[in-house]
Subunit: 235 residues, 4 copies
């Protein structure tokens, strides 16, 4: 396989894994930066992730334009991907989801999502929350449906791995598709564990140093999960 074929293959698998792991339902999407043209990215046409096949992946410019103008209808929120790829040269893959344990942390300002265990060290000390009202005003449909909103979201993400989106979901980035998928799954896991811990009493969170060290270790363990998850989607 060429690098591009490998990327498409991994994106198809990533769509099915994220569905199988409960990170996405009929909504949510995952993209990868073009392996030889960093100003383009690949993303499925507008459809449920769990049904994506190779033929459904198409190429986009960073501004969200389809490279093939006759291609099928794109996701309304492709600007999430394009503007993050533009702002973050280190990012090679992006997952956007409404993963269920994460949404509550996006709507409760008093409780930030923080790193509760070593599997989610990539969260660092806490995840920022994007408030769409600051850019789109008080009557938006909550979607990142313009370049302007994509730029604002990318700014909110900053140099983090995860940004929560109030009343909507979250976006997670990685140095490759496998890492973005790993982080999306363990962002959901962390949110669930942190919520349960908070119901028991005040938790001890990871220090910034523990989080960084754990994240570095886990960067070398991605294939352990990836191989398992690929087997699981093959049923």
């Amino acid at each position: 396989m060429t690098e591009l074929e490998t990327l498409i293959d991994e994106l198809v698998a990533a769509n099915h894994i994220l569905f199988q792991q409960g990170v996405v339902d009929g909504f949510g999407h995952v993209s990868g930066r073009h392996p030889t043209n960093p100003d383009r990215f690949l993303l499925a046409r507008s459809m449920a992730p769990g049904q994506v096949t190779h033929a459904d992946i198409q190429e986009y410019e960073l501004d969200g334009t389809k490279v093939d103008p006759d291609g099928p209808a794109p996701y309304l929120e492709r600007f999430i991907h394009g503007e993050i790829f533009r702002a973050r040269p280190d990012v090679m893959a992006v997952v956007h989801s409404h993963s269920p344990s994460v949404v509550p942390f996006g709507v409760v300002p008093s409780v930030p999502l923080r790193c509760i265990c070593h599997m989610s060290g990539f969260i660092g000390t806490s995840a920022p929350v994007f408030e769409i009202r600051d850019t789109a005003g008080p009557a938006s449909d909550m979607l990142i449906r313009t370049q302007e909103l994509g730029v604002a979201l990318a700014r909110s993400l900053g140099s983090n791995a995860v940004v929560l989106m109030r009343g909507h979901g979250s976006t997670v980035v990685g140095a490759n598709v496998r890492q973005a998928v790993f982080r999306a799954v363990y962002t959901e896991v962390n949110a669930k564990l942190q919520a349960e811990a908070l119901k028991l009493g005040p938790p001890i969170y990871m220090t910034a140093e523990e989080a960084a060290a754990s994240a570095a270790t886990n960067a070398g363990q991605l294939n352990r999960s990836w191989n398992l998850w690929r087997e699981q989607i093959q049923g």
Copy 2:
């Protein structure tokens, strides 16, 4: 397929989808207004939704009378459907369920079900709660088993998309079967997310304008979920 055949086909699928998605268990039902005779509706005979086949769908007058007097035993609560179809000419499909995350919001008066994220904008600012004691007194079996109770429930629903029923469940309406199913699934999702958010701290809810804008956008996205869910019930 004729319009009527298409409706029956969608109702059978809707029964299985609602079961597969955990909105109904052995109880609950989904109806559609007759496509050419707005004074009639279609609903399964009294049975578990997950076992409904084409042959189990029968036709009813709005007052709950079976069109075929020799047809099989109807649901005790067919009056939910008839009286909502009568009161709401815009409604073409109705789902009644005991979906598990919604029931608690129906029994705790201090906490209304409110729109917590964009997928459930159709909830608007909050969902009304129907108190059967106001009509049936303090010793009913909780069921909407008469026209009078159906009328009272429809009045409580008003112009909303969702009405909770104290100690019982909820009823959700839509402009077509796909929308009613979508709303039933995401009413359950919203209830689960809102309950989790409330355990963390005071949430930021969607504004009425955000809810309305999100609902309008999602009305154009119904098939993304529907296609996925149909595939899932084919197993």
Copy 3:
């Protein structure tokens, strides 16, 4: 099939349904009173409910003695069944389980299990809790492993449909196997719903009259669930 063959067939199905519905795991058991000899009952040999076959069901005297002294090893807790059948002539089937949402209500004296919705009207105003320390002292292994403990548990059950067992689980009775299974499943459902409601705020419980009326209605609806559940275990 003879009445006895029908009972055995239903008990085998009940074992698998209770496992499939998450009421029992490797532990728990379900019995039926002998259809022609009310002083005997039928119960599986000591094994996981999900693996029970027709050949595993054996006959017991009410005092817990195996009718066939050479039969395989019985459950340590067969006295639950025998002493309830002795004390309650109206009871024809008994389910004992550690169903997960019910156990917490058995260990928190400040919060009784109460009827939160119409599906569990059989709970009545609240379920009693059996404290084994009152009979077995402070160092028992928590099991109903003697006739004396079975008698004490039956006394705690009284005329109720459900009795919780502190630090252990619960026992549910019915007028037939289908009703005992229905009640075991919806005791678990009620506990889950009540716990979630309590986390939101003070709930409105069903009145005793509402509970009784709902229970009477549901007694006529048992087959709707039973038919579904039988299909699911054939899965």
Copy 4:
């Protein structure tokens, strides 16, 4: 089968059971002491437990050295197993996991994991919590990646059956593979039940005597679960 073949067979099954029961995901591991050489143990190579086959099990010295220096890459945390086997001659099997209901108890110092029901009597009065900062300082990657850390963890475990690990997971030991698996599953169950009970109100915990008596009884019931779980992983 030789004793060694039997152990390898049980370890492969244990890996799949722990995955199927939700105790491990892509991470976590289970070991057994060598049946004839108590100074060695068997453990899979570094991989997801759900994918382990007979060929993936290899032999280690208690200090974590692979007996076959050319064998595949070991788990970074094999020192958990080796140092516990060294410190506890009674222990013949060890499970390390991040089982989801247990992690919160490891990060909330105000709420110890305690025995809430008879299935988890092996927990005793409460489970100790290992704080890695005491040995590795404030910037570790949280892993038991040295003999020194293994020794510290074994000291924290003491004579208990379970030790929690702050921000990480837990480790459970047994007199054989079946018991270690049983305890790993019911540690997760106990954590879930205790957390739910605490949300209702102050629970009555098991006395030390009740816990000990229950643990002794359950030691004789291991095969009931094991037989079920083996059937379940055969799908």
